[in-house]
C-alpha cells in the first residue's frame, strides 16, 4: 500500500505495509537521526514532530498518517546545530544516540515556553527522554542555557 504525507517540508509517497512504524519508515528513507531505543514507546529516542508536536514515532503506524506532516532533526538542522553546540559545550553529547530525540523535544519545548526557563521545567519536558551516558546533568545545563540564551546575551 502507499501513503502520501509530508516529511521535512517535502511531499512524499512511500510504499508501506500494515505493520511498518513511522520510525522504521523514516530510517528507511534516509532520516537516520530517528533512533529505536526500546521498541515499546518508553525511551523517547524516536521522538519526531507530527504536525509540529513531539510524538513517539515507534508507536505510530505509517499507514495511518496520510496527509500528515512529519519533522525530524534533518528538517530543523540549522536550529538543531545551535542546540547541539550548547550540548557539546556542556559535555552532553557522548554517544549521541539519544541526542536526536532530545533535540526534537527541546526545540518543541522552545515553541511553548519563554525565557527565563527553569531547570525544573526542562526536567518535566525531558522526563520521557532516557540517556544512557551523561547522567542527565550536562543535558539539563545545555537545555537551560540554550532556552535562556536570549537573556544571557548569547546566540
Amino acid at each position: 500500500m502507499q501513503v502520501s504525507l509530508h516529511v521535512n517540508g517535502r511531499p512524499v509517497t512511500w510504499e508501506t505495509t500494515l505493520s511498518q512504524t513511522l520510525a522504521d519508515a523514516l530510517r528507511e528513507h534516509g532520516c537516520t537521526s530517528v533512533k529505536c531505543g526500546c521498541e515499546q514507546g518508553t525511551c523517547g529516542m524516536c521522538t519526531v514532530w507530527l504536525d509540529g508536536k513531539p510524538v513517539l514515532s515507534c508507536s505510530l503506524l505509517l499507514c495511518r498518517l496520510s496527509g500528515r506532516e512529519v519533522t525530524t532533526v534533518e528538517g530543523v538542522e540549522p536550529q538543531a546545530r545551535v542546540l547541539a553546540s550548547y550540548l557539546v559545550a556542556e559535555g552532553g553529547d557522548q554517544c549521541g544516540f539519544c541526542a536526536p530525540g532530545y533535540i526534537m523535544t527541546i526545540l518543541a519545548m522552545e515553541k511553548e515556553v519563554s525565557a527565563p526557563v527553569s531547570e525544573e521545567t526542562v526536567q518535566a519536558y525531558l522526563a520521557g527522554n532516557l540517556c544512557r551516558c551523561t547522567g542527565y546533568r550536562s543535558k539539563l545545563r545545555a537545555a537551560v542555557k540554550y532556552l535562556n540564551r536570549s537573556q544571557n546575551g548569547t546566540v
Binding site: S19, E39, Q40, G44, R64
Partner: protein
Amino acid sequence: MLKLTELKTPASLEEAYELLRLPHHTALAGGTLSQLQAGEPTVGVELTHLLPSGITRDGCRLRIGAMTVLRTLETDPALQTGCLSILPASVRHLQGPALRNLITVGGAVGARFPQSEFLTALLALDAQAVLYRGGTVPLETYLNAPPEDIVCELLVDREPGQTGFCAVRNSYVDQPILCAAACLREGTWRIAVGARPFLTEVRTCPASRDIREIAADCGASFRMGDDLKATADYRRRICPAIVRRAMEGEGVCR
C-alpha cells in the same frame, strides 16, 4: 507489535460500532499500546476521524472529546488553576510530552488501566461518559462494566467543588504506588483511590465526619493488593495520608 491484517476506515460511527462488535476487530486511537500488544492478528478500525477532539465549554460543563490527547488536557489554560487543575495534575507524570501527545482520553478510558491517575481524578469529579449507543452514563458505571460501545466524549462539571489529588511514586515518571483524588460538593465527599493495584474505585461520605476518620476508613475499606511496586500492607498504611492530603486540597492550584 500489533499485527494488523487490514485497516478499515469506517465512514460513520454506526459503521465503526458494527465493525467493533465483530471478532478480531480492534479500535485504533492514539496507538500507544501498539508496541505492547502481541496478540492474534486483528483488523484495525480507525476511529480518529470520527470522534471529537478538544475541550469545549457547554454551560456548566466541560465536554472533552474522546480524541483529545492528554497533553491538551495538561496544557489547557483554563485547567491550570482552580478545582479542575487535578486533571493536569493526574496526567503530567505519564512519561513525557511525546507520549501524552498520543494518548487519547477515549483510549485512556477504554483501556481501564488500574494504575491510571487520570481515571482516579475523573471518578472523584463524577465525570460522565457519553457513549455512542448507550447515551450518557456515570464513568463509574462504565468502568465497572464496560459495554461494547464507543466512548465519544467525557462530561465534567466546570465547578465540581473543592478538589485535591495526591499520588505516591518511586520516581518522577514512574507509575504510582497509590493515588487518591477527592471532591467535596454540597456536603458530600467523593473519594477515589487507584493503583491499589486494582482499578480505581470511588466512595462517597458526608462531610460532617472528621477528615482523618474518613481517610482512616479509606485505608481500611479499599481493597489493596501486592505487586512489584508495593505490598498491600504498604498501600494500606499510606492510603490515609494521601487521602487526607487530597481532601486538604493538595495538587490543586488556587
